[in-house]
């Protein structure tokens, strides 16, 4: 064990093999590009471009959902969090998994039955088109923007770790390459190409994590208890890493707030919701969520083993000292287990992960802009759908350029809060309106608009006035500037109930009544799938 630790310490990332890492990554890019170009040939209609022709099977879509969901933050972040803070890192993955039950039981099938491409399609079914679509597109774009920025910043950090590129120029070049590749994927392949990239990536990621898990368990005689013992033996915190408290012990309410956003946010994430439209029926949407739950659940069990494995085989101090910090736990564990070849493989997967997730978010944002803002608000639904797809393609380029600029701009900033913020906004602005419009007959346009803008702005304002922005050493503005009047780093515990409350308040104070005929039609169609959008025949 000491020998392995020495190995991890001597083989610094600069001494790992960047050429090997890059070759494996290029092989992934080559394979996925071929897939994207082949699948892009059949992109004729809006349904092809936005929803992959609704022709994916539940199993394929389940893999794609897992690919979308298991971002670099999930893979590198959770393994690292468990390796360094033990049990507290594990609590993250539980929220991320349980959240899928909200999607499975309450949202996925009904959404598939009532809408076409975007979340706003569901909300505007029986409410006023203009204001509701604009609000829904605003929250969608906000969530996508936070998520995208976090992923691009992660790309820069990963580079320094995996390729041994430490200077700012080198990192900027890699961020640009990632952004440019993503634009090509989404422009050429549309939703179909993006989905295939997700499927390939999810498959590789889960296989890779599974192999490492078996390896770690084999070293520990296939006993979880032995693994925990060996992690405790080398940890500076000793037996404390096996119980909650290392990370959130000082501020438990902050953890409760985060946990709420995680469990309620997933079913409101626009890029997750959009995946339900790529399958032909509600039954397939159900199957895809079931596959996603199994794959994501299995993966998070692997991360538990990998996290404690990294703690015992690499050591928390080594991980924190490495370039890339806690994010380096999984790659360093790969190096300790299988040498440069396994490190290269895992690094390539991590890159592929960023690429695939960024592509998925971009097509979601572009669809929402083109379909909701351009198609329905500007053109009032009278525009040509082909023009809409053209607008979507241009939006992809704009978002890609913004993502590259943002990714370069935020390098070195501590912006880990952005993913938590994306979940908080999804839970406070999107989920209340989705649930109300599906299940509450008296919900009105005013309720929807109040809930979405209220949830969005309260989540953002609370973050700005939280310790994330000012008042502590780790804040964005440092300890010197202090306007942190809100004591928690996670706004969910306030903004989520507020989103639900505003939706109720806006509805009961509405003077105009919504059309009861449309409400009845929506109730019947959402539960039965009558008149749902069919798959595209080629």
């Amino acid at each position: 064990m000491i020998a392995l630790q020495l190995l991890a310490e001597t083989v610094k990332p600069t001494e790992n093999n960047p050429v090997l890492n890059i070759s494996i990554f290029l092989a992934f890019v080559a394979v996925t590009l071929i897939i994207v170009i082949r699948s892009g040939r059949n992109n004729k209609t809006a349904a092809d471009y936005y929803a992959g022709g609704r022709s994916f099977t539940g199993t394929q879509n389940g893999f794609a959902i897992a690919g979308d969901y298991l971002s670099a933050a999930s893979f590198l972040g959770i393994v690292g969090a468990i390796a360094v803070t033990g049990y507290d890192g594990f609590m993250y993955s539980i929220g991320f998994l349980v959240a899928w039950l909200v999607a499975l039981l309450l949202v996925a099938e009904l959404m598939r039955n009532t809408a076409k491409f975007t979340m706003a399609d569901v909300l505007s079914f029986r409410l006023k088109q203009g204001p509701v679509r604009l609000a829904a597109a605003t929250t969608t774009l906000a969530v996508c923007f936070f998520y995208l920025l976090a992923q691009m910043a992660g790309a820069g950090g990963l580079v320094s770790l995996l390729l041994g590129i430490n200077d700012k120029l080198g990192q900027s070049i890699v961020v640009t390459v990632v952004g440019a590749l993503m634009i090509v994927y989404v422009l050429v392949g549309g939703m179909k190409g993006t989905t295939w990239v997700q499927i390939v990536k999810a498959f590789l990621l889960i296989i890779g994590a599974f192999a490492m898990t078996i390896w770690v368990m084999a070293i520990n005689g296939f006993s979880l208890s032995n693994l925990l013992d060996s992690a405790v033996a080398v940890s500076a915190s000793g037996v404390d890493i096996l119980a909650p408290g290392l990370k959130y012990g000082a501020n438990p309410l902050d953890f409760v707030s985060l946990a709420l956003a995680l469990v309620l946010g997933t079913a409101g994430l626009p890029h997750v919701l959009m995946r339900f439209y790529t399958v032909p029926t509600a039954k397939e949407a159900r199957r895809s969520v079931v596959w996603a739950i199994w794959l994501i659940g299995a993966f998070y069990i692997f991360t538990l083993v990998l996290g404690f494995g990294a703690a015992s085989l690499v050591g928390a101090e080594t991980i924190e000292a490495a370039p890339g910090g806690v994010n380096s736990a999984a790659p360093l564990l790969a190096l300790a287990l299988g040498g440069p070849l396994l490190l290269g493989f895992i690094s390539a997967i991590a890159f592929a992960t960023i690429l695939a997730v960024v592509a998925g978010i971009t097509i979601t944002a572009a669809t929402s802009f083109a379909h909701d803002i351009y198609g329905s608000v500007i053109k009032k639904g009278k525009g040509n759908p082909d023009d809409e797809v053209k607008v979507a393609r241009r939006t992809v380029v704009v978002i890609g350029v913004l993502a590259i600029a943002g990714g370069i701009g935020v390098q070195g900033q501590n912006i880990a809060f952005l993913v938590a913020l994306a979940f908080a906004v999804a839970a406070s602005a999107n989920l209340p309106t989705i649930l109300y419009s599906l299940f509450w007959r008296r919900f009105t346009t005013r309720g929807a608009v109040w809930s979405m803008y209220g949830g969005l702005s309260s989540a953002i304002l609370l973050i700005v006035f939280s310790p994330v922005f000012s008042g502590t050493d780790t804040s964005m503005f440092g300890a010197g500037v202090d306007f942190a009047v809100f004591p928690l780093s996670n706004p969910g515990i306030v903004s989520i109930p507020l989103g639900f409350f505003l939706g109720w308040l806006g509805s009961v104070t509405s003077t105009t009544k919504e059309d009861p005929k449309l409400a009845a039609e929506m109730a019947v169609r959402s539960l039965t799938g009558h008149g749902a959008e069919k798959a595209v025949e080629h």
């Binding site: 209609t45 809006a46 013992d229 119980a243 709420l260 469990v263 198609g375 039609e521 039965t528």
Partner: protein, 115 residues
């Protein structure tokens, strides 16, 4: 062929307000709600109970059960187990009880639209 952007749902021959009150539809809706609502409440309460225990009951969570495996780890893995179990039971229920009912209703609605 491109599809038109739908502004309002297409006008249809079906009186949905009346259909919503037919025994067949109410039966399907009731069956679904009686299964899904208690399940959703159960998993949310159980998750929040776990979160509160993890946030405030550190010593309880640290109690060893066997070997180095403690209460916290078992409860955490328990969340995985219940998530998988709820998923399987919902799918079995939906495939067996709900799908035949919705298929029948869809057929009926399509007939009504043809008239």
């Amino acid at each position: 062929m491109s599809e038109a952007v739908r502004d309002a749902p297409p006008k249809s021959a079906i009186d949905y307000e009346a259909y919503e009150k037919t025994p067949k539809f109410l039966h399907m809706k009731g069956t679904r709600n009686r299964f899904v609502v208690p399940l959703a409440i159960f998993f949310l309460v159980w998750y929040i109970a776990y979160v509160l225990a993890a946030a405030y009951l550190h010593d309880f969570m640290a109690t060893p059960v066997f070997g180095s495996i403690n209460v916290g780890l078992l409860l955490g893995l328990g969340q995985f187990v219940t998530t998988f179990a709820i998923t399987m039971s919902y799918v079995a229920f939906a495939n067996r009880k709900i799908d035949p009912l919705t298929e029948e209703i869809r057929g009926e609605l399509e007939e009504m639209e043809k008239r």
